[in-house]
């Protein structure tokens, strides 16, 4: 059996490094290995290249100054640094506002901080993943050290109105951080024109390598570093710079800006075609999140009465890579916290599949996926005790009656 050419539709998990990124990085492993801090020409060239990369990232984010860009080791480090810095810099403020659908990089940290005595306000979402800004306004106060709200959700792609929320925080005198890991590189961002104080980026979501991130820190925002040591990053993030990756991220930032239009039009059209193609033939399936307000590359579809991991395994057999919010893919017992927060019924929450496209995705690939999905869903439904001849059994929770509850 010949293995089919792989189709990668899991770009919200991570992306392939762009060959141009790799090419730009390679010299910095070999002849340009110097330490940018050193007082000799080995280091000097690296220093110049780092500066150029910083400028490119500054442009991508629309930041006013290049000194607002702090390179870190990943998106998670950026999130932790931002939140912990806000707490350290304002020891009298013991509250944090965030949302129930953040990435674990923020949620787990907040859970830990809660144990240490901080109060965490977790804003709820409606069934399309949207926030109620009145709820938000109610908890904004001078006791809050920082608001941390993601720009776009990694599972559904749904946007939060972070620009507006940052204005509200600013008016209340509260620092505002956004985890923009999924948004940066996919949509236009112009930080200089916003009141966002801090913003997290992760390189591997925009075709740069893994293990490189950025924390944007607006000028004059009080900041306390997570790692102290040498004077790298103006003392805001000690540790010898990961020069090859920073330079790679610079190139990736430049490429992302060039591809932004393509992302907004072509990639979006492919995503829409994928969704429409699947939903036209598969009954009892629906899009999760807000279809009218989300990233152009993300489609999250819930297939009722079947389980996500099983779908992924059958897709994988045909060379198609996607991901799922099912409990089984994570080894936990609960389906994704994002799906539960939106109130997606259990009959569907275990069967959510996320297809996330990139600028490399082709129409032919999308057509192959549209053909592949319906038989897979049908095959698994045939196995499911909740599915009858042509549809779900009447009152599935009752028809299937286990001896215990």
């Amino acid at each position: 059996m010949s293995t089919p050419t792989p189709i990668y539709l899991d770009n919200n998990a991570t992306t392939a490094c762009d060959p141009k990124v790799v090419e730009a990085m390679l010299p910095y492993f070999t002849e340009q290995f110097g330490n940018a801090s050193s007082m000799h020409s080995f280091g000097n060239k690296v220093g110049v290249a780092l500066k150029a990369a910083r400028t490119k990232v500054q442009k991508l984010l629309g930041a006013e100054f290049d000194s607002e860009i702090v390179f870190t080791s990943c998106g998670t480090e950026s999130d932790s640094t931002a939140i912990l810095s806000a707490l350290k810099a304002q020891p009298d403020r013991k509250e944090i506002i965030t949302t129930v659908v953040e990435h674990p990089a923020v949620l787990s940290l907040c859970e830990q901080l809660e144990k240490e005595g901080y109060t965490i306000h977790r804003l709820k979402v409606d069934n399309k993943g949207g926030l109620n800004l009145d709820d938000y306004a109610k908890v904004l106060s001078d006791k809050v050290a920082v608001v941390s709200v993601m720009w776009a959700n990694n599972e559904t792609g749904t946007y939060f109105p972070v620009v507006e929320m940052a204005e509200m925080a600013n008016a209340a005198g509260v620092l505002f951080h956004t985890d923009a890991v999924q948004a940066v590189g996919k949509i236009d961002i112009n930080l200089a024109a916003t009141k966002i104080d801090m913003l997290s980026v992760s390189g591997h979501k925009l075709h740069a390598p893994k293990g490189i991130g950025v924390l944007y820190v607006r000028r004059a925002v009080r900041f306390r570093p997570l790692l102290r040591g040498g004077h790298q990053e103006r003392g805001r993030r000690a540790g010898t710079e990961n020069a090859p990756s920073i330079i790679g991220l610079g190139v990736a930032a430049e490429l992302a800006m060039e591809a932004m239009e393509h992302e907004r039009t072509y990639v979006k059209a492919l995503r829409d075609k994928l969704e429409a193609g699947i939903l036209a033939v598969v009954p009892h399936a629906f899009v999760t999140g807000n279809p009218d307000n989300r990233l152009p590359n993300t489609a999250n579809i819930a297939f009722e009465y079947i389980e996500g991991e099983a779908i992924l395994m059958l897709l994988n057999k045909q060379g198609i890579a996607a991901s799922s919010g099912s409990a089984c893919t994570s080894g936990s017992l609960e389906p994704s916290h994002v799906m539960r927060a939106m109130g997606i019924p259990y009959t569907a929450a275990h069967g959510t599949v996320r297809f996330s496209l990139s600028r490399y995705t082709t129409e032919e690939e999308i057509e192959r996926v549209i053909t592949a999905v319906p038989p897979i869903v049908a095959q698994l439904r045939k196995l499911s005790p909740y599915w009858g001849e042509n549809g779900p059994v009447a009152d599935p929770e009752k028809a299937f009656a286990p001896a215990y509850a």
Binding site: Y305, I306, E307, G308, E309, A310, M313, L314, N316, K317, S326, A327, C328, T329, G331, S332, L333, P335, Y346, T347, H350, K382, L383, S384, P385, Y386, P396, E397, F400, A401, P402, A403, Y404, A405
Partner: protein
Amino acid sequence: MWDYTEKVKEHFYNPRNTGPLEGANATGDVGSISCGDALRLMLKVDPVTEIIQDAHFQTFGCGSAIASSSALTEMVKGMTLDEAKQISNQDIADFLDGLPPEKMHCSVMGREALHAAIANYRGEEWSDDHEEGALVCKCFAVDSQMIEDTIRANKLSTVEEVTNYTKAGGGCSTCHEPIEEILTKVMAERGETFVPAGAKKAKPAVAEAAPAKLGTLARIRKIEEVIAAVRPTLLADRGDIELVDIEGKNILVNLSGACSGCQMEAATLAGIQTKMIEALGEFVRVVPAAKAQAHACASHAHGG
């Protein structure tokens, strides 16, 4: 992606005995859609001999849930109900050349469905005695519910005790933080405060409690005593241990049988080593005599 064995994948891609079973006279339903897995097992039992003539399943669940169900239907065909009742969840996992620790509950569900079906056939009430929590210890596949229940029942107050009772935490030790959290919670229920081992963890210096240095013969005896003392536990787990040689500080042993994964083996050896050190009052290392053999075993456990 999970590290599924070829057998699991094969049963998932080509599940046997699926769909409703014509003439079924025993049905067992377990799980629910909210839990993410549900299994219906249908049996056709000969009323005279009680031999299972046919078995079918319907499963809502992940790859290993479907594979476990398929395996179960193959295993029970031709058995009498009493024979089928002896099937343990480990047997189902073994039939599939093993399941990842996070997925062992799929095999548990299989066994439960079987018991439910048998009870259904015999007109008995069947009730599930097992509640499941999130997986805490990956090395030994122990979930939070199990740890909680054990702490409560035995009034445990240290991670070490939890390890002794449940095995959780006895391997790589990375699950000690969640175990401490469970201890904190359950101890609070009974009005106590969990005190982390802290200083205690730094282990009382071995020398302190150590007997005077042993003579060669006494030393060998002691080593043999420790081996004899741990054998019953291993035998109970369908394994065994044999002393091969003593080379200075290295005690060479053969471990066999229940080598259900390299971590498990390492944990067993580490446990025996601790006992040796205590008994001998000196630092020794317990090492497998045949490293090569140990490796073959480990790769078998993971099965590709």
